[in-house]
C-alpha cells in the first residue's frame, strides 16, 4: 500500500505499469488521475500545501478503511504538493480488487475523500492574483454519499 507526496511532476502511466505487474488473483484495477486544468486560457498555477507526515498518516487511515470496506488487494496514492502547472497530474489513485465493482467504488471513495477532506491547503495563482480555494458544495455532496 503506497501513500506518497511528491513535489515533482510524475507520469501516472509509470505508476500504473508498476501497480499492475505480477498480479495473479487481481481481476480489476481502477485508477484515477486528476490533472490541473488551464481553465480556458487563464494561466493558473495551483499550489498545494501539505503537512508532511501528518498528511500521509491521515490519508493512510482512510486508505485502510477503503481496503477493509471494499476488500481491496492493494492500493496506491501519489499526490503532488507545491506549484503545479496546467496539464500536470495532481493526484493518482489505483485500486486492485478481485472484481471491477469493488475496484471502481474504492477509487471513487478515495477520490471523494482526497478532494474534500484530506489535509491539503490549496491556492490558485491566476492573472487576478492569488486566492485560497475551499472544497466545492459538489465535493462535499460527493463525500456524503459514502456515510
Amino acid at each position: 500500500m503506497m501513500i506518497e507526496l511528491t513535489d515533482s511532476p510524475f507520469d501516472p502511466g509509470a505508476l500504473l505499469t508498476a501497480f499492475s505487474k505480477g498480479r495473479r488473483e487481481t481481476g480489476a484495477i481502477a485508477t484515477f488521475t486528476g490533472l490541473a486544468r488551464a481553465e480556458e486560457g487563464a494561466t493558473n498555477i495551483l499550489e498545494l500545501e501539505a503537512y508532511p507526515g501528518f498528511t500521509e498518516a491521515e490519508i493512510g487511515r482512510i486508505a485502510e478503511q477503503a481496503r477493509t470496506r471494499f476488500g481491496l488487494h492493494d492500493l496506491a496514492i501519489l499526490h503532488r504538493v507545491g506549484k503545479i502547472a496546467p496539464g500536470e497530474p495532481i493526484v493518482f489513485v489505483a485500486t486492485a480488487a478481485g472484481h471491477r465493482r469493488a475496484a471502481f467504488e474504492a477509487c471513487d471513495f478515495l477520490m471523494d475523500y482526497l478532494k474534500s477532506a484530506a489535509p491539503f491547503w490549496k491556492k490558485e495563482h491566476g492573472p487576478a492574483g492569488e486566492r485560497w480555494v475551499e472544497p466545492t458544495e459538489r465535493d462535499h455532496a460527493d463525500r456524503e454519499r459514502w456515510s
Binding site: Y51, G53, H79, V91, A118, F120, W121, K122, W132, E134
Partner: protein, 79 residues
C-alpha cells in the same frame, strides 16, 4: 521551545510559517500569539481551525514541552 507551525491561509495572516516559541500549554501559547498579533489570534480561534500536537489532533487544552510540535490547521481543502 515548542515548534509552532501555521498552514494555509493562517500563514498569510501571520506572515510566518514556523517559529520556536516557549510556552507551557496550548492556551498559554494562544494567549501569547494573540497578544502579539490580534488578527492571528482571531484567525487561530476561527471556525474549523484544528490543532495537532506531535502530528495528532487534539481538542481543548494540552500541555506543551520543549520538544512539542504544535500545528494550527485551517479547514482542509483537499487536493
Amino acid at each position: 521551545m515548542a515548534r509552532v507551525l501555521l498552514f494555509g491561509p493562517l500563514r498569510d495572516v501571520a506572515g510566518w510559517r514556523e517559529r520556536q516559541i516557549d510556552s507551557p500549554s496550548l492556551s498559554a501559547l494562544r494567549a501569547l500569539l494573540t497578544d502579539e498579533d490580534a488578527a492571528l489570534g482571531e484567525a487561530l480561534a476561527g471556525k474549523g481551525v484544528q490543532v495537532a500536537i506531535d502530528q495528532a489532533l487534539v481538542r481543548g487544552e494540552a500541555a506543551l514541552t520543549a520538544a512539542s510540535e504544535v500545528a494550527f490547521l485551517p479547514p482542509m481543502s483537499g487536493g
